[in-house]
Symmetry: C2
Subunit: 488 residues, 2 copies
């Protein structure tokens, strides 16, 4: 999505896609952590062919260390080895994380982290604040959107990646981060001393739309998400909500028990929420202990709705009569558990241990769940930014011009074609756009026009009235409220 | 390069780029294979922190095997682990090969393999003979170019990759391969019984050009290459050669001792050929024991000239007064050795153990060697093929049209632009081309026109008079022969 590519919430940084797309079985953690594994006895490794396999690895380590041109850090070799084994499984959802990544993964699961609480992005090589998180130490200290962060505790961010910079900013609760800041409109450098604290990650956003249609957006299924969700749901119900839209677009998943707890609110007692099939093909069903709701429900999904999002969508579609609206979901039908205690050094092994199936026994892996009402966002939602180093004009061609044509078209200045050829129609459309934003109508696409075009587009994308998927869902719920016969 | 992408000599198949780009120190093999390594005692692995590192790997193997959703083949995990360790080195030239790849690697180094001796490619899902190797069992049996190979010893090639098919065709010397063949112009299936034999890979091609200019092309530095080279060189000299062009374009390298032996022919006694710097920063020089030549020499290089090719180019440039002509070389300045005995199961570890430097002490790694006379091939040598599923016409745009424009231009039908926009100029050029090959002048680019365009281009590329780099080198040598003052 436009712009999103450079924006990342601090806690989500350094996460690989496979880490984000997780479905963690916390119940399983204790199970997996107990038993013979804990005792450190590896019976079947110590015997027979397994032993010679280990010796082959040892031999390779030895040969590398003894002969490689450079000195080799053995722990890097070991990390590489475990990484390589996880790759060999051919399962993108099984992965190895070193201590740092493991820590961030745990924080993501827990829905909180310790730091200063600023959402940052990398812009032209600078670490720029997107916005301080509400109520965070960063906000209280006075950090403002667009502030450029220069250094922390004397460590300059120059040449660092966003991840590296973020790892310097973060630290244990109670410690100080002395942050040097350059503010857009001043040339002086400012310094803030910020005491790091627990930052709760908001994963639930609720609002009431016209006609008493409640909307709850869930960005992730962290450990505190069910509780937050229930509170927001109760608030909406207390305000007289007559129908509900749940938005799980771009929600990569989270904890299995949490999504079950949430689905429980809507699935009538005794009906299925999810089935789990273990490595021995044993299936177990989870049935609802809840009681269902009298009002209509819709779930908005897209291809970024994965894992726990798909369990919720599947359960509500099959067992609670909810309508799915939007795009087919991601299609991740497996459950992982993580082993960290066993690794003993802060690192973590995330391993796929089971499949999950919808209440009706459908395995949606690599297929996704189809919506009841298919709605795509307009094409300008995903248009690529335009290269600002080049000037484009009549008779040129390329992907940048294609982007510009899509943007012009979305803003109502139809160029007549969107294939990347800069024809007279494109030139005329561009002139009209330039006039509309009080620029000289040159018909040439240079850096200032590109910036104007992109910010007009961003404004349009951010305007909720252009969110076609959400609007379709709200409209559908309004219809169902009006003709209650369609309720279950 | 055009067409080359689908053509591969049997023995080169399944080679990773990093394997091909090798510089093997055979002298080192015995050194590296002797000593404490062989005894199987891994002293520094068995003690202290190293031990816990190994235990961490064991623990990961255990956790994966016990918990992963599917049954896990432990040898795959071990291969993955060693692969992962090699990746962790961050050196593309250090790599791990399983038994099959290791076998092919050894054959490449040795310059021979056992098989039927047919060069094959994959075309539209079929295994097609490019040509049988001269004197090979395949040629003697009657296998012809364009024959489609269907099966060997009853194993169908349907659905197999080229590598998989080739591994079925090959086998030990003396064994039989019953090959089912479909010949282009017959519908019947033919069956040949071919006895596998040693197939020597030709790595040296020599010819005499006008004006007594000898040309020797070296495709690789295998164990038999120096001997073959010396024979061809002696033949050319016997025929009265007055100057020599050595062509190492797209030559990925080979064995260090071989290229030293070859450089020795041209570098006067006592002058440097190459320097090697080991992991302890100890440098050793290799000086020539040869006597130099009285005639002018040029070496033709391109960015595919790597490793041993660069040693030859560097030695001849700095110590034998040769001119380098063409493009800058690849830039691989390291030496690998391979450990296979130590691995014990046919697998092989290729490890970077040293740097090499030119006689003057230049490390050309990631830089390459600059030519004395820079000559690029015409752009049509590297043009991408055109998608044959689509029909292109006026006012369309894209990379396929760009390719067509480059092709038209190279064939003398200048379209006026080569940026991928199908304008009237392109349409007219296309019509002229169609007329020239007796096709209807539609000005539309459909499959038949695309095929005609591509085969005209291939003909042009194959025509030696369009090899600008080689022709410049031959011309240069002719000049030097004519004005002997420029000889050393």
């Amino acid at each position: 999505m436009f712009k999103k590519r450079t924006v990342a919430l601090i806690v989500l940084l350094a996460m690989l896609l496979s880490s984000v797309l997780t479905l963690t079985l916390t119940d399983q953690l204790s199970f997996a952590g107990s038993g013979p594994l804990r005792s450190g006895v590896f019976a079947d490794i110590g015997s027979g062919s397994s032993k010679s396999d280990i010796q082959k690895i040892e031999k390779a380590i030895q040969l590398i260390k003894k002969n490689y041109l450079e000195d080799v850090d053995q722990s890097k070799l070991v990390d590489g080895a475990i990484d390589g084994m996880m790759n060999a499984l051919g399962d993108p959802f099984s992965s190895y994380m070193g201590p740092d990544t493991a820590q961030q993964f745990s924080e993501q699961i827990e829905g909180s982290f310790t730091g200063i609480g600023a959402e940052v992005s990398m812009e032209n090589g600078s670490v720029v604040v997107v916005s301080p998180i509400k109520g965070s130490p960063a906000e209280k200290a006075g950090i403002q959107p667009k502030d450029i962060l220069l250094s922390v505790n004397g460590i300059s961010f120059e040449g660092l990646s966003l991840n590296e910079a973020v790892s310097k900013i973060r630290g244990p609760k109670g410690t100080e981060a002395k942050v040097k800041v350059k503010r857009a409109d001043t040339s002086a450098e400012l310094e803030y001393t910020i005491v790091r604290d627990d930052i709760a990650l908001e994963t639930v956003y609720a609002r009431m739309e016209e006609g008493n249609v409640g909307v709850i957006e869930i960005t992730e299924f962290s450990l505190n998400t069910a509780e937050r969700f229930k509170k927001e749901l109760a608030d909406l119900e207390a305000k007289g909500m007559k129908g509900l839209v749940i938005d799980v677009r771009n929600n990569p998943g989270g904890v299995l028990s949490i999504v079950i707890d949430m689905a429980q609110q809507f699935v009538p007692k005794g009906k299925g929420i999810v089935q789990v099939e273990d490595r021995n093909k044993q299936r177990s069903q989870t049935l609802s202990k809840g009681s269902g709701k009298g009002y209509p429900i819709a779930v908005v999904t897209n291809k970024g709705s994965a894992s726990a999002s798909e369990i919720l969508a599947g359960a509500l579609q099959e067992s609670a009569g909810a309508k799915l609206i939007g795009e087919a979901t991601y299609g991740k039908g497996t459950v992982q558990t993580s082993f960290s205690e066993e690794m003993g050094d802060g690192s973590l092994l995330k391993v796929t241990i089971a499949k999950w199936l919808t209440p009706n026994g459908e395995w949606i892996h690599k297929k996704g769940i189809q919506p009841d009402i298919k709605v795509s966002q307009p094409s300008y939602f995903t248009v690529a930014p335009i290269n600002k180093e080049t000037t484009f004009k009549y008779d040129m061609l390329g992907d940048d011009i294609k982007s510009a044509q899509v943007m012009l078209s979305s803003l109502g200045f139809a160029p007549g074609r969107e294939d990347g050829y800069f024809d007279k129609g494109t030139e005329n459309a561009l002139k009209k756009f330039q006039t509309s934003v009080n620029m000289k109508a040159t018909g040439v696409l240079e850096v200032e026009t590109i910036k104007a075009l992109e910010s007009s587009l961003i404004e349009k994308i951010r305007d909720v009235k252009n969110d076609k998927q959400m609007n379709t869902a709200i409209e559908e719920i309004r219809k169902e409220i009006a003709s209650p016969v369609s309720n279950k």
